[in-house]
Amino acid sequence: MPAVIDVRDLRTHIVTRWGTIKAVDGVSFALEDGETLGLVGESGSGKSMTCLSIVRLVPRPAARIVGGAVRLDGDDLLTKSDAEMQQIRGRKVAMILQDPMSSLNPVFSIGMQMREPLTMYHGLRGSAVAARAAELLDAVRIPSPAARLRAFPHQLSGGMRQRVVGAMAIAGPPRLLMADEPTTSLDLTIQAQYLGLLKDLQQRHRFAMIFVTHNLGIVARTCDRVAVMYAGRIVEMGPVRRIFTEPTHPYTQALLASIPRFGVRRERLTAIAGQPPDLSRLGAGCAFAPRCPAAFERCAEAPPETTVAAGHVTRCWLHGG
């Protein structure tokens, strides 16, 4: 089956006063219908920037996509014109942002904000719009959807707002849905509900999903595959089970080791030694080397992507290359 989304060697640079930051430095992955990829990493690892690069909404003028290809159903998005991209955004590729408090425009009603995608993507008018909007709100399990259309964002709770954002995201329905830490700002009890909702929607509409998070627990529950990012590169990627049980990259191992677990006695919490790297001063070698407990001379050269097992790749000299 052809991939829904096929990213090859995506590179995005940001020009700042302090130098050029390689925010996304050669990222490649492919997803099929109904597949979910978890994108994990620290702040600054390039997770969000990768998603923004896919839809070409990098913060200009400082940031620019400098290379690679992003194929949506075979079509390279990086070669499209602005007008064409505008048609694709929302309709074919949708994104949910982190903070529901600020994602919705405070001065427009929910109805008006829902109407917009319906009119834009499907040319609906009049009562058909209201009906469809109510349907969508119902699909995301918002009670009394018709009444909600008249409400304003400040009158809804955080969880409900995030559902509205979700409703707008599936209005296409899209081929790819990117969710950037959608549950981080929600209460714990609501988080599980929301994740369940997203999975249901995905089942129904069969879109591919990219789930950006720093929470490995969520990854375990919702994702089929996971890609671990560090300093703009994917350092390890593979099926969720394998990554959790047999991580190969020292960074992945450190991440997993730092999760406190019930029932396991430990003297102290392990943190990853050192500081996140200065992205404007990356050397030619492996970006994790300075903090890696297993680093050796070879690490001064950037490791290529090596296949460790079926569908499991890693970037580390410890595993051949």
Binding site: R89, M95, E116, H154, M168
Partner: protein
């Protein structure tokens, strides 16, 4: 929403009541008008008669009450100097001031809006720089100086536009421009900074992610949010326009409220002074009320909060 409006109305009325007392006291404080209208050799008896005739010999409280009582019905008394009902004078002059202020406001907004929005959208480019220069100049230029220069050159030497009077549409241009100059500056700045802030927000990002055309993102999604402080200041500026029009009206011989006030003050014409200040205050209060209502219309958070 109705409750909101009523509440604000009540507050305005209270403020006005306080103001009427202040006005009353102030007007009386300017001195004795009789010195202005009676001849030099008038006797003490003449003064007493004039005072009785004008009702100035009654106790202050009585004067105040009759002033308020009649003001409510629109009767502001008779101008001591002009011997005509003040309300008549007001009726002649007030519309002129309002028209000039509206003209100035309209033109200023028409210039400030696109300039402010474009300056934000094209931040750092030529448009932005030009806009910033306009803004700073607008707030630094002494208007009456500009007015004089304009009168001399544009009206005097070049004869393009009339120098005074309020006859034709053309005669609105110079005074309107002079008055509105600083409004353009202030408004444009506000819009620019408001837009810059809003364009950075999450909901604008989401709108773009939804595929909304950039034009609509700027002029609908972003602008409506940036309007909030602009509306507030628009109200303040309008009030300022009406009240500082004195200087412009003097230079351009505009028959408006400002001139009336000036003449009234210099001739200690109590009824006129009282009326002008009161009318100005009412105007300002009314404008503020409108601003608050528009504000509530734009921002639903105000409507439903208390």
């Amino acid at each position: 929403m109705v409750r909101f409006v009523l509440f604000r109305l009540l507050q305005s009325l209270i403020a006005l009541a306080i103001l009427s007392v202040v006005v009353f006291v102030l007007a009386r404080a300017t001195g004795d008008p009789l010195h202005m209208i009676l001849p030099m050799n008038a006797s003490a008896e003449d003064y007493a008669n004039a005072r009785a005739y004008l009702g100035l010999d009654r106790p202050y409280l009585q004067q105040y009450l009759s002033f308020v009582g009649r003001a409510v019905t629109g009767d502001f008394g008779t101008s001591i100097r002009a011997r005509r009902p003040v309300s008549e004078l007001l009726r002649e002059r007030l519309p002129n001031s309002l028209r000039l202020a509206t003209f100035a406001m309209g033109v200023s907004l028409a210039i400030a809006f696109p300039l402010g929005v474009m300056a934000a959208v094209r931040k750092g480019t030529g448009v932005d720089r030009a806009a910033q220069i306009v803004a700073v100049l607008g707030q630094s230029l002494p208007t009456f100086w500009v007015a004089i220069v304009l009168v001399e050159f544009v009206a005097g030497r070049l004869q393009w536009l009339p120098a005074g009077g309020a006859d034709s549409l053309a005669s609105y241009v110079l005074p309107g421009f002079t008055l509105g100059w600083f409004v353009v500056a202030g408004m444009m700045r506000l819009l620019r900074s408001g837009m810059l802030e809003v364009l950075d927000s999450e909901y604008v990002k989401l709108a773009r992610l939804k595929g909304v055309a950039e034009r609509k993102v700027v002029w609908v999604h972003a602008l409506k949010n940036a309007l909030i402080p602009v509306v507030t200041f628009a109200g303040i500026y309008f009030a300022v326009l009406v009240t500082t029009a004195i200087v412009v009206e003097t230079v351009f011989a505009w028959p408006g409220l400002g001139r009336l006030a000036y003449d009234g003050i210099t001739s200690r014409d109590f009824p006129v002074i009282q009326a002008v200040v009161l009318v100005t205050a009412i105007l300002v209060a009314a404008v503020n009320l409108c601003v608050d209502c528009v504000y509530a219309l734009i921002d639903p958070r105000i409507r439903y909060a208390r």
